[in-house]
Symmetry: C2
Subunit: 501 residues, 2 copies
């Protein structure tokens, strides 16, 4: 009896809650309607105050910024193509669950879309997880691809230093079961080529291996369960001094002071082949299986990098940890060094411009049968590179053209609009890049000024006498030279005169 | 007394509704917590079943699709550059209020982001509103720009016909105070050039003017307040027959049958200059001020299009209305015509591939002082074009290359990995596009097969004897010809042999 009553009470509660929910929905709808009416009223009155801005942490690219961006992309894409990469693209959002459990502590920075009915979606956080999803979904076990696209992180923006909430990543990845360290070495070669090509100044590429880190944690006495969180602490070493990192490990994360101190000794080590050899002899580390594997592969990597002739810029650095959860082997990060250091001190790093590593388990997380596809890849952090190129361009006072127009179709007298339209149409149809002013009767001076401002090298001037003679007057803006060209030769003449531009 | 009771009852209702709302929120929170816990459990067990798909209405672009996409983009971008356009880019999301009140009935299709604290954001719905926001924000009164980017609409996808929820728009717009119809005519010329260049088959560009429509509505007896909604009905004429549109006007929208019938007579008219002249003589329409303005400008537009030599593909069509709220003058839409029509019937349109028009009021909606910047622009609907190009490529069985690799660095014997690495590094540094298999000892047959599959035209074969002789064996894949090339001439030889590719 009591049970029956309880069940009935429960059913009543459920019924009431459902009703409440329906009521609340009704209210929400009414409120939405009112707000919409208000917005429409606002529109009709033309009075509403817009906040005229882009969302926090984002920016527009005007024509000048785009010209710089295209330059940087060109260098990066031509490097990726030089290494035989195909290109893919994926949607800007993914199913929310696709991103779940991939980014560790950074997951809180993911942008979710509002639930408007249907699937739950999130904006992509990087290009690596969508790539892994793409491979698993299409059962691809073997590909070398690049992908250049925007990713989204609800991070604290620092826009002057090139840290945005919407930013480009330029990713190159090699997926497939291959002999050890050959694709890994190519990724480092690519970073080296791109940073050299862009002439961003001196740089160093730090290299480490998650297996060496894990082995190091083990021999230092870090419990297995704390590996990832202690790894996150080590990752902060490029921004904060060891003392702070140590106190986070001991204070917040409950690591024993002895273990922390042992880690402290390792993470200050950096060097080349000699350091690898030294650690392979390290009495503790050499006894640890994963560390030994990692060190063996690191040695092989350095041999390949020697053949590529780039070890001068590579530093095996035990303090490099990388934040993301999905790395399983080699990890690396390229940092620019302070350009002019007048006091002769050791160069200070001004920031990471590329990073990457091996992630052999990520594709398996998406495959229904857990089939793994080993992957290694690199991501170029282009926003910081843009910032540097922009600053440099501003300092150099180089005038950058934002169009490719070869010729302005102009007129010397009034009432020649029709003739200008006819001529420009001929030029467009012949593939010539041509502009005209959108005025019926523009002044010649204004037309010439437009060329000066925008860098158009030639002016094709239509005049009454020239029309009678079957010629067009071609003016070379830089020299102010003018020549009459027969109309049928005009296209060819423009091509010749702009082929050096 | 009765009044007081009513007020009290109302207050009680409000209190109860508020409580209900709070309860419902509490439930929603609890559910969210449980779902999160469930998700975390799933992660820890590594067991959760991923739905391996892209979000509804979106797709990945694999290397082949990208190759087709790049071809189409190339044609479009080179046309935009030929017309002297600069390029800009804006963020993928805007403040929600930036998009409010711009799209009329379509606003319900906007993707909102979840409120995660901070600003309320929405994904852009087109590139026109962000462009207007950009102009107002930067006080730009004069620009010709293109913008190619993805936009987002929560519409019903029909992917086989190229209708997606995430899709590219390729926009070209001219902003500024200019003499009438010159920029408008250029927009139509651009559509004509691009559709001709892409060889998509026969097409027609329908043209109309919002002022002609408004004047027509007025003389047909449509009340002012119903202009926009009746315009929406007319917009459906390309998909549904007049009878259905008429019954929507009369039934749903309360228009008088007489007014609807008068509209019905006008909207079946289409033609060229002759139709414009006829309507300028129309006893009713010629008395209407805005209609007369619109017809006068339409006449001027046709004169300019005649000079451009493209009136053959232009149809002045009184049934063209365009859905969006922001148009104020000329509107147009390009449709592809059914390719092969064996029964000799009138060609049937298979779908819109470009559209646009004049929107002189939009920038003013963003300017704090309401300053207007007249604009006209065109948007190329690239997804439908992709679909057509993809189908055509599939039918043609043309093999499309997805990389640009010039040479594969191969070896004829074992133990030559180091030599391959050294050689490929030299080639990369000289700017040659080169690949190698990531195997220590690949079989020569496998290496040659890789070239056949991926279309690599040359193989640089490292062999022991050749190393001693200081030469590399260069194999031309297509002819199976092999030549020994001195190592120092290899780069030059590869350049020459691939310059025709």
């Amino acid at each position: 009896m009591a049970e029956e009553a309880a069940v009935r009470a429960q059913a009543e509660t459920v019924r009431r809650l459902k009703q409440d929910k329906a009521d609340a929905d009704e209210i929400a709808k009414e409120v939405a309607k009112l707000l919409e009416m208000k917005a429409q009223l606002g529109t009709d009155e033309g009075k509403q105050k817009f906040v005229l801005k882009t969302p926090k942490g984002t920016r527009d690219f005007g024509p000048k910024e785009m010209a710089i961006r295209e330059r940087a992309f060109k260098a990066i894409i031509s490097c990726f193509k030089r290494h035989g990469a195909e290109v893919i693209d994926t949607p800007v959002f993914e199913l929310k669950e696709t991103l779940t459990g991939k980014y560790g502590e950074d997951s809180k920075l993911i942008y979710d879309l509002k639930d408007q009915g249907g699937e739950l979606l999130s904006l992509r956080y990087d290009l690596t997880v969508p790539f892994a999803r793409y491979l698993a979904m299409n059962k691809i076990t073997n590909i070398k691809r690049y992908h250049i696209a925007k990713v989204y992180r609800r991070d604290n923006p620092a826009m002057t230093r090139g840290r945005y909430r919407e930013f480009y990543q330029c990713d190159f990845d090699i997926a497939g079961q291959f002999d050890p360290m050959i694709p890994d070495a190519e990724c480092l070669k690519i970073v080296h080529e791109i940073l050299s090509d862009l002439q961003l100044g001196d740089f160093v590429i730090k290299v480490n291996d998650r297996r060496i880190l894990d082995g190091m944690f083990a021999v230092c006495g870090v419990p297995d369960s704390k590996f990832r969180t202690i790894c996150s602490s080590v990752d902060k070493l490029d921004k904060v001094p060891w003392e702070e990192v140590r106190s986070e490990m001991v204070g917040e994360k409950g690591l024993s002071p002895e273990a922390a101190d042992r880690i402290g000794e390792y993470v200050q080590l950096h060097g080349g082949l000699d350091l690898i050899e030294q650690l392979l002899q390290d009495p503790k580390l050499s006894q640890n299986k994963v560390a030994k594997e990692g060190l063996g592969d690191m040695k092989l990597l350095f041999e390949y990098l020697t053949l590529f002739g780039i070890t001068g810029k590579i530093s095996f650095d035990l303090s490099l940890a990388r934040g993301l959860d999905y790395y399983t082997g080699v990890i690396f990060e390229a940092v620019l060094l302070q350009q002019e250091n007048e006091r002769g001190e050791e160069p200070v790093s001004v920031g990471s411009v590329a990073g990457g590593g091996r992630y052999d388990g990520l594709v398996g997380m998406f495959d229904p049968k857990g089939r793994k596809v080993p992957c290694v890849g690199v991501s170029i952090g282009i926003e910081r590179i843009f910032s540097i190129l922009e600053q440099r361009l501003e300092a150099s006072e180089e005038k950058i053209r934002t169009t490719e127009t070869q010729v302005l179709v102009a007129s010397a007298q009034k009432k020649l609009l029709e003739e200008r339209l006819k001529l420009i149409s001929e030029l467009w149809d012949a593939g010539i890049k041509a502009e005209m002013l959108y005025k019926k009767n523009p002044k010649l001076l204004n037309q010439l000024q437009y060329c000066e401002e925008t860098g158009i090298p030639l002016v094709a001037i239509v005049g009454e006498q020239e029309l009678k003679d079957g010629v067009i007057k071609l003016r070379i803006v830089a020299t102010r030279e003018e020549v009459n060209v027969r109309r049928e030769s005009l296209v060819e003449e423009i091509r010749i005169r702009t082929s050096q531009c």
